[in-house]
Symmetry: C2
Subunit: 325 residues, 2 copies
DNA sequence: CCCTCTTGCTTTAACGATTAAGCAATCAAG
DNA sequence: CTTGATTGCTTAATCGTTAAAGCAAGAGGG
């Protein structure tokens, strides 16, 4: 490993000058700067991050904590984050908070011990991480007071709800996965708020809700809106078992536009998060906070996008009155 | 931040003794060790990783490079790796090689610049990473000479093939996604090798292969074996369009037991990787290599597991001869 | 009783960078 | 010309930890 010292003795100048030339600080003549740069290049010099970190107190590493790395959104967040971080010469250290608030604190502590300059946290459902000694960007949802950036889950809910309304449905079922999740509550709130009071709405939760939702089709419900593609897929399977066809007898929607949603049959109408945008902003926020700009910052929200596919259509009773084509 | 120096002056001993007491090296009386430990605890001492790294040359960080963080297996690998790494007090820095061999080298270089102690690489399809100045564990497949640990993809292929054979199929189609992928080639090799020569076998590849495979059902094929659950889902959709029912008219299998495979309809027969085991071994190998044990190491292989679900059944023509029950 | 060994601690240097302070030479201004 | 500012570099200290070497006191052996 070539050190600044070796370049210094090699060129007959002091280490301080090498450091200044390479970092662009201090005062060094333009001519010497270029000579030093080329020589450093030739020798294959790579600055020691450890030494720099020790001296400056900055590691150039961000910590990423997620409740569960198996979360289907994680790969996309991680990818964008990693690419965006690269551009800013930052590294990303990952930690899994394994579904519990305690583990989350543990994970945060471990990352802090490693001297991360900032943290990006997707909090455990229903928890708010303790105040940290380094800047934190929280990726949750608008209704979380600690939130920094997130998709507009409530707005996303409104998007599907209006779509379902627009194509003529008048009695709908909403199905959520986990009542503790603020994200899912926001999505459902967005849906219900967007529906006029003369629309029939039933809200169910969890695995038990799947059967209940399907049962509602018998009582005249023509659309099932879920808070997740995975739940929608579960419903789809249950509907298949009970011989109810999608979208002819009931329309079905998901959330998050997961990998399988465009491939399943019928392709699922869903609402996509702009994960790229969210991750980019998260990095922006955290970098700004680290460099000291951005005093305190209100939670931002990134619009969601409705993706209409084959699982939603005009309800049957309208067909019967005026058949298509 | 409390440093070793402060504890030293606080207790009236030298910094060397503090360091020795806390790391268990050198010679310190048992009594002093415990006194130092409790005092360090009280003061909330956290060793500076940067300083330690600078002095020892070891950062305690592993680099994880994957071809594409959106890879559906990534979350599970990352999770297990992160949990196992924690146990050994290691951190995991991620990097995305974004689908190209060049980016892969770039990613590796960036991680090396950060001083990682070792690397875990899931290589780009068809590439072998250059020799590295730190230990590397490669997660690919048995036929890759550089491989360190992997699922027994070929054995997995044999498992499904034998299953399909056992339940009576005599004319089958094999469908792969990407011919460049050594993993997929191994899976297919495993399948074909397990099938006796009197079994009709056709092998197709890629998106175009989906239609071809489905067409083969008309010519008497009763099973389609794919190299990925995602491909199986594509085939499922195509079969749905052409009104061919699964598993009544054709049996279908995937690979990797992805999140949706148990939820889709019919639930997919597939072959699961023991991702936990693979990741654990990867960490074992890399730790051993770092600490100097493990001179050179042959590629290990972890058995795969057949998961039989509803998408495979006895072929139709057998039904017609001797109907079930 | 002398010598060696062991124990328990301290001294000191070092890892590789950054940075404040210092100093000589050059330059501009009065 | 003298003075003050500017430029271009060096000196030296420092970040927090580790580890080799040193040293005094007590233990054990002959």
């Amino acid at each position: 490993m070539v050190s600044i010292k070796q370049i210094a003795s090699d060129m007959g100048v002091s280490t301080a000058t090498i450091s200044n030339a390479l970092t662009g600080k201090g005062r060094v003549s333009q001519e010497l700067v270029t000579r030093i740069q080329t020589r450093a290049e030739e020798l294959g010099y790579r600055p020691s991050i450890a030494a720099r970190a020790l001296k400056t107190g900055q590691t150039g590493i961000l910590g990423l904590v997620m409740p569960d790395l198996t979360n289907p959104l994680f790969p996309r967040i991680a990818q964008t984050l990693s690419i965006q971080a690269d551009k800013r010469k930052l590294g990303i250290l990952i930690a899994d908070s394994r579904g519990s608030a305690d583990e989350q604190s543990e994970a945060l502590r471990r990352l802090l011990d490693r001297g991360v300059d900032g943290l990006i946290v997707v909090p455990q459902k229903g928890t708010t991480p303790d105040p940290m000694p380094v800047p934190v960007a929280v990726l949750n949802t608008a209704s979380d007071p600690g939130n920094s950036v997130s998709a507009d889950h409530s707005g996303g809910g409104a998007l599907v709800a209006r779509h379902i309304l627009d194509i003529g449905h008048r009695k709908v079922v909403i199905l959520g996965g986990d009542q503790v999740s603020e994200v899912q509550r926001d999505r459902i709130a967005g849906m219900t708020d967007a529906l006029p009071s003369d629309i029939g709405v039933d809200v169910f939760w969890g695995d038990a809700g799947v059967e209940k939702s399907v049962a509602m089709v018998q009582t005249g419900a023509t659309a099932i809106m879920t808070t997740s593609d995975l739940i929608a897929l579960q419903v789809r399977t249950e509907l298949m078992r009970t011989q109810i066809s999608v979208p002819d007898q009931v329309s079905l929607t998901g959330f998050d536009d997961m990998s399988f949603s465009s491939i399943m049959h019928p392709a699922l109408t869903t609402v996509a998060q702009n994960v790229d945008e969210i991750a980019s902003r998260a990095i922006d926020i955290i970098s700004a906070k680290i460099s000291g700009n951005m005093p305190d910052h209100e939670g931002e929200t990134v619009p969601m996008q409705l993706v209409v596919r084959q699982s939603t259509s005009i309800p049957n009773h309208i067909f019967s009155r005026r058949p298509p084509r």
